[in-house]
Symmetry: C2
Subunit: 198 residues, 2 copies
Amino acid sequence: MARKTGSHGDITGPKVREVALHLIARHGFAAVSMRQIAADVGVQAGALYRYTPDKQTLLFELMRDHMDALLAARAARGEARNVLDRLDDFTRFHIRFHSERPDAVFVSYMELRNLTPDNFTKLEGLRRTYEDQLEAILKDGVAAGVFAVRDTKITTLAIIAMLTGLTTWYRDGGRLPLDEIERIYIDMVHGAVGMAQG
Amino acid sequence: MARKTGSHGDITGPKVREVALHLIARHGFAAVSMRQIAADVGVQAGALYRYTPDKQTLLFELMRDHMDALLAARAARGEARNVLDRLDDFTRFHIRFHSERPDAVFVSYMELRNLTPDNFTKLEGLRRTYEDQLEAILKDGVAAGVFAVRDTKITTLAIIAMLTGLTTWYRDGGRLPLDEIERIYIDMVHGAVGMAQG
DNA sequence: TTTTCAAATGAACGCGCGTTCAGTTAAATA
DNA sequence: TATTTAACTGAACGCGCGTTCATTTGAAAA
């Protein structure tokens, strides 16, 4: 046996990434072998190397693609005028985007330590770019006298940690619909930036 | 060579755990080998099995000890009278305890997936016990009309995620002293539970 | 000092790892 | 249809893995 009937790189390639993302999220990068990924894809281990030069690059590209998608989706959204709407929009966006991709979120936060220093630096840059977008909103809000924030950097990180924490427990079809969860988080974010709730 | 001069189980045992915690936090459980741990301890790999029956148990006991210490330290603290003081005390306690043990925190949150189902269940119970303590405060605050919280469960998880996020960036001797960081977080927690800041 | 016990060695076990590659087969092209 | 190209196999490579164990040696007890 060699090439299989119906085989096509445009199908196998994405499937490799999908399977890898899922397995790595479940068991961790170091705990998942190329043979396991290959088995779930339905090929032999050697075939994976048509789609990635090595395991490390596969991990890095999964994480980089996630961050690229995050920044692209964010950029595609128009900016609201007033600073409170911008904050609410960020909150809603973050919740939606992250709740739809728990595997990618998990991997992107947990496997940073398995990246080579070079790859780590690149990813840090992307993450920093995203964080800076929230901090810019906070700074504008403080300047406008709308938010009362002691330290915009810490508040930025605290809000992102709070919002991202959602992915550890949120499951589709759970106790509360995502709309309601969004409202709850928006209230809490308002509180965190020193606004009265309502 | 066999037994080394000055060797003693009361010294090597704790050192095994200390080294293991540090290496696992840095590289992940699956990525760290028993030989690496042994090398940092200063023994051969076989000697580790005088201190743990196997690698999995070593991981579990590190995580369980961390949670036990967390609950014990929390219980050792007297409860304040009014509900706002109790919330502030929880916030301060959580920040202090977690900022002092970044390795253990990291491992306890990241390596859950590497536990056997049995061990996972045990640890989930301990974590749940801790979360329930914060939720009890929130419920009391809501009942007393002091807090305005839509959903105590979600708010509990959100606050803990926000506070624990600190360990990903806090380093001793950083830009802000821990006292100041505490104040910032206390303000944000007040906001998250629907109180005006001050 | 002799005996007992605790601590650690170092070699060995089978196994699965990431990766390479010559060979085989299906799909695409001419 | 004949040729080229893309997809994949399956075997092989050296290596490090978790774990076991007979043996050696230092520390503690008698």
